[in-house]
Each structure stands twice: as C-alpha cells, then as structure tokens.
Amino acid sequence: MPETRPISAPDTIDDLDRAIIRATQAGFPRVPEPYAAVAAEVGVSAGEVMRRLQRMLDSGVIRRIGAVPNHYRLGFRGNGMSVWDVPDDKIRRYGRLIGELDFVSHAYHRPRHLPEWPYNLFAMVHGRDRGEVMLKVERIAALLGDDDRGHDVLFSTRILKKTGLRLGHGS
C-alpha cells in the first residue's frame, strides 16, 4: 500500500508565481538589483516580484532564501543516514529533539516495513568522516536511552543519479 502524504496546496500559487519559480529555482542573478532582473524576465515590476516571494515565504512554499551549501565540497565527507526504531507515541518529541542537534540536517518520520525494516525515524547526520558521524550517532543513541529499540547507519558509497527537482511545471 504505497501511501504518500503531500501537503498539496497548488491553489495557493498562480501562473505568475510559477513564472517566478521557474525564473529563480536555479538561483538569483548576482547583479545589484536581482529582483528587477527577475521582474524583467517575467514581465512585472520588481516590487511585485518581491511581494510574491514574500508571500511564498509566508505560506511555506519557499522554505528560506539564501545560500545552499554543498556539505561534501565543504569537507563534510561523512554523511550518514541514521535510522531509528522508536515508540510511535514518542516519535514527534524525539524527532524534534534530534532535529535540533546542529549536526542533523533532516529528520523525518517514515513508515516501517516489518519485519525486515523496523525503523520509523530518519536523521541525516553530517561529519568530516565516518568516525565522526558514528560518534554523533552515539550521542543520539544516548539521548534516546531505552527508547532506542534499534538503529542503523547507512553511508552512501556512490551517487548514481542527481538531477535538480523540476518545479513549477505543474498543471
């Protein structure tokens, strides 16, 4: 039973938003007046572009605006996907607690696939190498105590495909 839980709210964005998304998803122009440059491309005023971006920030369509660092290129070569089996009734509390750790970049609740896959909490842990990641994973284990009913860490060995998400092309 494949289930997806999208927060689907396409009705909150319109064609102009989509045009702005297409014009900016690869990044802002690095020119003194970047919003004026985007505005010229989509055919509205710079003020309108700023208002739309602010609205998408407020509604959560944009998570944040700024620099997106490349962890790997910055020397954080050990990136481990840590997975945890924690009691369902405590997962939200633990998810937030783990998400607050400065070495965790993503934390999600995902479905178990019993019996072979008992893990319901995923946290991406970053470190300079595998040893550092494993030490950090131990800190998470200590934080969970007896509620850590089992965990594992999966390291990537190869990137098989990496393409940007294509956004804003929806109907």
């Binding site: 802002f28 690095r30 003194p32 660092p69 607050e100 390291f155 294509r166």
Partner: protein, 147 residues
C-alpha cells in the same frame, strides 16, 4: 576558504532580504561592499562550495509529491538495475548505500497519484520489490550548517 567566505556561508543560509539592493544590504553587515559580496558568492558557486544561491522551494507545497524508495539489488545485476531505475525521469536522486537495501532513490512527481504508478512500473521493469518510505512527518530540514 577564508574567514569572510565562512561568515557568508554561516550567515546567509536564510534571511536574504527582499529589497531593491539586497546584496548591498547584506554586504554592509559583513563589512564588505556590494560588488565584493557578489564576487565571493559567484566564486563559491563556481567552485561548488555553494550549490545554489536563491530561494529553496518546498516541492510538496507546489502540488508535487516526493517519496524515498529503497531496493535490495543483487550485486550481479546492480549496473543493469541502476540503468533501469535511472531511466525514469521521476527518479531525482539515486544513491548506492552499503546495506542490504543497497539502492536508495527519491521519486519526485507532479501529482501524489503518480508515485504509486511509477513504483509499480519500476517493480515490473526490474522484477524487484521497491520499499516505499514517504515521509509521514517532517521534524526538521536543515537551516543551519556551520563551517
């Protein structure tokens, strides 16, 4: 990497201002001029320390859907299955991991319904089961990353 680049990365992972001259405004706080800031950002984009500079969009809020999927691929068939899976345009990222579930990929589709269809198509193309692990709740998506 010098202290100024580090400062740019640490301070600019969010909150880039929406005003006429945003680079000038940020540069002021860093003790730089506008042109120097733009040049430094350009250089970090060129050498890959930054993968992007701009808005980070939330795919699902745009009406699309994402799911994380895993497969246990027999080593002898690995390259063949990589090619079969990657042939689907909905497969956005794909990583080999050292685990019995040795292939992990992200599906990105324009509608939630399409996730299930693509999963079935991948299973029939490869003859292998796909473990579907869509997120049920998001607790945190990194905002800070100190260098």
């Amino acid at each position: 990497m010098d202290a100024i680049d580090r400062e740019i990365i640490n301070r600019l992972q969010g909150g880039f201002p929406l005003c006429e001259r945003p680079y000038r405004e940020v540069a002021g706080g860093l003790g730089l001029d506008e042109e120097a800031l733009i040049r430094r950002i350009d250089r970090m984009l060129e050498d890959g320390r930054l993968s992007r500079f701009g808005p980070m969009y939330h795919a699902e809020r745009l009406g699309g859907a994402l799911s994380l999927c895993a497969m246990a691929v027999p080593e002898a068939r690995f390259d063949e299955v990589v090619a079969q899976v990657n042939a689907f345009p909905e497969v956005a990222h794909n990583y080999a991991r050292d685990h019995w579930l040795n292939m992990w990929f992200v599906l990105a589709t324009e509608t939630p319904e399409r996730i299930g269809e693509v999963l079935k198509a991948i299973e029939s193309a490869t003859g292998l089961p796909v473990y579907d692990m869509p997120k049920q709740e998001e607790f945190y998506v990194g905002l800070r990353f100190e260098v």
